[in-house]
């Protein structure tokens, strides 16, 4: 037990460095720089012989410090007990390993990286299309042999993605309705156009806000859960086990999720839009003294029914997109935790982005439909 030290002595004509103490991880703590400086001084002072006999313990750190101090070689005259010597020899491999550094980045790497991103995006797209195709095959197979159809999974997914989402979507819808109504009311009051609150809320919520709101919530709630579930099943090889038993993973895992979300989304849109309209109605009656009866009576007159169909259609499309994106990213998880978390994030972000894209397509495609004349 002792502090690692270096002392310089003269023995006849020889300049000797005498080392003592614990040259270990614990012993060297806080003394590393000082000892390195002393070693450098020893090299410069042309020490001819090294005496390590008094070194009580030496570990890899001590050995590597000495080895570096000696300029990557053993000194010619070295006195050490066999144990110490063996430890030093283990550091000898360092000479070769010195700067086995990571591959350096080169010019043009960024171009390559950009290309990789492009290829990766392309692959994702192809993967999505392949998954859609596979799902259609599975659907056809399930229709041909109805007893193979994954009905229990369908019902379970319907409950998970639909029923359990009711409270949160209702709450968010109600609050958004209140906020929208309140802000619009402030503006409309200044023009004395109070009754138009019903038009604004009706068209805005039924056609646009309701479906998008639900899609964002569902993508964050069910989409991430789907990706994580499939991803974990990949990591634990459960999907491989399923396949081995002759049960195609897409039929049993993907198809019920997609169908369930297809069924649940329009209903959720209806539910959330109603809740938002209710919130708007409450706020309007407080702010503008518009009675519930008048609100409900005017709504169908100023909002053509086509808007409702567009909203429900959007719900269907968004559900398909979210489920497909989530399943695609879930199935492409690589068997490590890093990939799992990365793909879950990607799944949610891509699903919401795709929903907004599809929404834009809808806006353009239906621009002549359902507008009050």
């Amino acid at each position: 037990m002792g502090v690692p030290t270096i002392a310089f002595e003269m023995s006849g004509q020889l300049r000797i460095a005498v080392l003592a103490g614990d040259w270990t991880l614990t012993g060297l703590e806080g003394r590393l720089d000082a000892l390195r400086a002393q070693l450098a001084a020893a090299e410069a002072g042309e020490i001819e012989s090294w005496n390590l006999a008094a070194v009580s313990r030496l570990d890899s750190l001590g050995a590597s410090v000495l080895w570096r101090g000696w300029g990557d070689r053993l000194p010619e005259r070295l006195e050490a007990d066999p144990r110490t010597r063996r430890m030093l020899e283990s550091a000898a491999t360092l000479g070769v390993r010195r700067r086995a550094s990571a591959p350096q980045s080169r010019f043009g790497d960024s171009v390559v990286a950009l290309g990789r991103v492009g290829i990766a995006l392309w692959r994702q797209l192809i993967g999505m299309i392949a998954l859609t195709g596979q799902m259609l095959f599975d659907l056809a197979a399930a229709l041909r042999r109805p007893h193979d159809a994954p009905l229990r999974e369908l019902s379970a997914n319907l409950y998970k993605t639909g029923v359990t989402a009711l409270p949160i979507t209702a709450l968010v819808g109600f609050l958004i309705g209140v906020v929208l109504s309140y802000l619009s009311a402030l503006q409309l009051k200044t023009f004395g156009a109070d009754v138009f609150i019903i038009n604004i809320l009706g068209i805005g919520i039924v056609r646009e806000l309701g479906p998008v709101l639900v899609a964002v919530l569902v993508a964050g709630r069910s989409g991430s859960a789907m990706t994580a579930q499939l991803g974990v099943m990949r990591v634990t090889e459960e999907i491989d086990a399923l396949t081995t038993m002759g049960v195609p993973a897409t039929l049993r895992l993907v198809l019920p999720k997609v169908l369930a979300l297809l069924a649940a989304m329009p209903l959720l849109v209806l539910w959330t839009s109603s809740s938002a309209l209710f919130g708007g109605m409450v706020a309007a009656s407080i702010q503008l003294d518009i009675s519930y009866g008048f609100f409900l009576e005017t709504l169908p007159r100023v909002v053509p029914i086509a808007n409702l169909y567009i909203g429900l259609g959007k719900g269907l499309a968004f559900g398909l997109v979210i489920a497909l994106v989530a399943c695609h990213f879930g199935l492409t998880v690589k068997p490590n935790t890093e990939s799992l978390s990365a793909n879950t994030t990607r799944s949610v972000v891509s699903a919401i982005t795709c929903v907004i894209l599809v929404d834009a397509v809808f806006a353009i495609a239906t621009r002549h439909i359902g507008m009050p004349t």
Partner: protein
């Protein structure tokens, strides 16, 4: 026995109403290689986890290097934990870090070593477990089962432990790899003067490594001592575990 590396006295472990250990005693002197064996559910891994300090026993005391594991002093606890290295069954490598960063992790946590020193140390450890320098940049997902174990061993050795705990070190390795791994552990033990505790099911590993064997059963240590001594024990479990022909086959193979 004051110089015992591990000293367990009156250990009681319960999971709900299921009593796993009831008054278990064990003392392991320095420099020994102890193999913990026992049937499934006999609490081998639980015992190992308690020695590491992952589980807290309900009663009794575990001292490692003469100090209690949960002393209440955070700094002392931390310093004590740095004196032993653990090799988990699946390796438990951090999958977000590459091999170099995995081995460097405990060294970085010391917060006083510089980059070059850490790099040198990692390279020495890699050489110790017989891996090549270029393996340092692989991710754990890219490693084979045997390599994962080696990297995990290198990480366990990073802080120069005096005590090494191995949970099923050869499980999931083919016989060839498993033999190479056992040789590696034995060589490192001689080189570094380690005390080793291993939990194993594999008789080959046991015969090749262990200097002491402790058989767990009936909530306590049934037998404890050198392998040939334990084998002569007359308990039915021990007789069936080391059943004569299986053991003689193993001993013939290991040539001891």
């Amino acid at each position: 026995m004051n110089d015992a590396v591990i000293d367990i006295r009156g250990l009681v472990t319960r999971f709900g109403s299921n009593v796993v250990h009831d008054g278990l005693d064990l003392a392991l002197p320095a420099g020994e290689v102890l193999a913990l064996v026992g049937g499934s559910g006999s609490g081998k891994t639980t015992l190992l986890r308690q020695v590491i300090g992952l589980l807290r026993p309900q009663q009794g005391q575990i001292r490692v290097f003469g100090q209690p594991l949960f002393s209440g002093d955070a700094l002392a606890d931390r310093q004590l934990r740095r004196r032993f290295g653990v090799l988990f069954q699946q390796g438990a490598l951090f999958s977000a870090l590459n091999v170099l960063e995995n081995i460097a992790f405990p060294l970085r946590e010391l917060r006083w070593l510089d980059r070059d020193a850490i790099n040198d140390l990692v390279m020495i450890k890699l050489a110790m477990v017989e891996l090549e320098p270029q393996h340092a940049w692989l991710m754990p997902a890219e490693l084979s089962g045997g390599m994962v174990k080696r990297v995990a061993l290198a990480r366990a050795l990073a802080l120069e432990p005096e005590l090494l705990l191995l949970d099923e070190p050869t499980a999931g390795l083919d016989p060839d790899r498993s033999e190479a791994f056992v040789t590696l552990i034995r060589r490192l033990r001689d080189q570094l003067g380690l005390t080793v505790v291993l939990v194993t099911h594999d008789l080959d590993t046991l015969a090749a490594l262990a200097t002491q064997v402790a058989v767990l059963g009936e909530r306590r240590i049934l037998a404890y001592g050198p392998l040939d001594h334990v084998m002569k024990h007359d308990h039915p479990f021990i007789r069936s575990f080391f059943c004569a022909e299986r053991m003689s086959r193993v001993l013939a193979r290991s040539g001891s």
